[in-house]
Symmetry: C2
Subunit: 133 residues, 2 copies
């Protein structure tokens, strides 16, 4: 699939998530990026203030699902920051090797790194050894 | 001012910020909460992945302005996470003592704590010492 199609697919999944979450006002929807690092595919997700113990990742076919929770502060005078549980199903924009995901959280950003599947085997050009006389 | 009026005022400031930022597509708009902790007023702002050196706070009258920046990742396949510079002007929902702000960042959440202004002086009841005979 080319990138515009993948981008449209992700938009559709995002809209579906939005519709599914309409009846669940506690849910929120952290923003995600997909990055191609060459050998790996990276998923970046904004999870500021999320309880690290609550973070869960599940890989199923072409999709990785990330869920977690953050508590709402007490005695709030005005609130824009969403809280409660979230769950996002994100479609891999490129093929990855199953069960290679590695997750870290730094400064409120979750990074999950997946090994990309390379359908071709690289040919390495070695210098000719030269014929011995 | 009562809380609905303050909430409306904050909404109006947020809309104004949105209009001002329309012509600056690089700008984003981190979500903010105001919390009353009893003795202090707390501002919470989601700043995941923001370069801590770029964070700046300025207090002016009834308003605190927070600005900062985060870099966009390279080689992005799909991007939802906003990046670039941000600047938010937030109205104090309660009176605070000037120049008492203290800021910390933890797990991608900026917390700024201000001492509240108490217009009344508390009367502390001390036990009667009893008259000496």
């Amino acid at each position: 699939m080319n990138e515009p199609v993948l981008s449209r697919l992700q938009q559709l999944m995002t809209i579906r998530e939005g519709v599914e979450n309409l009846g669940q006002p506690g849910r929120w929807h952290p923003a995600a990026d997909w990055v191609d690092s060459g050998t790996h595919l990276l998923l970046l997700l904004d999870v500021p203030g999320v309880n690290l113990d609550s973070l869960a990742l599940e890989e199923q076919g072409n999709t990785v699902t990330v869920s977690g929770e953050r508590a709402a502060p007490e005695y709030v005078l005005s609130a824009e920051r969403p809280s409660g549980t979230f769950s996002r199903a994100l479609h891999f924009p490129q093929d990855v090797l199953p069960q290679t995901g590695q997750a870290t959280v730094k400064n409120g950003v979750l990074t999950v790194q997946f090994e990309k599947k390379h359908p071709t085997i690289d040919v390495i050009c070695q210098p000719d050894a030269g014929e011995e006389v």
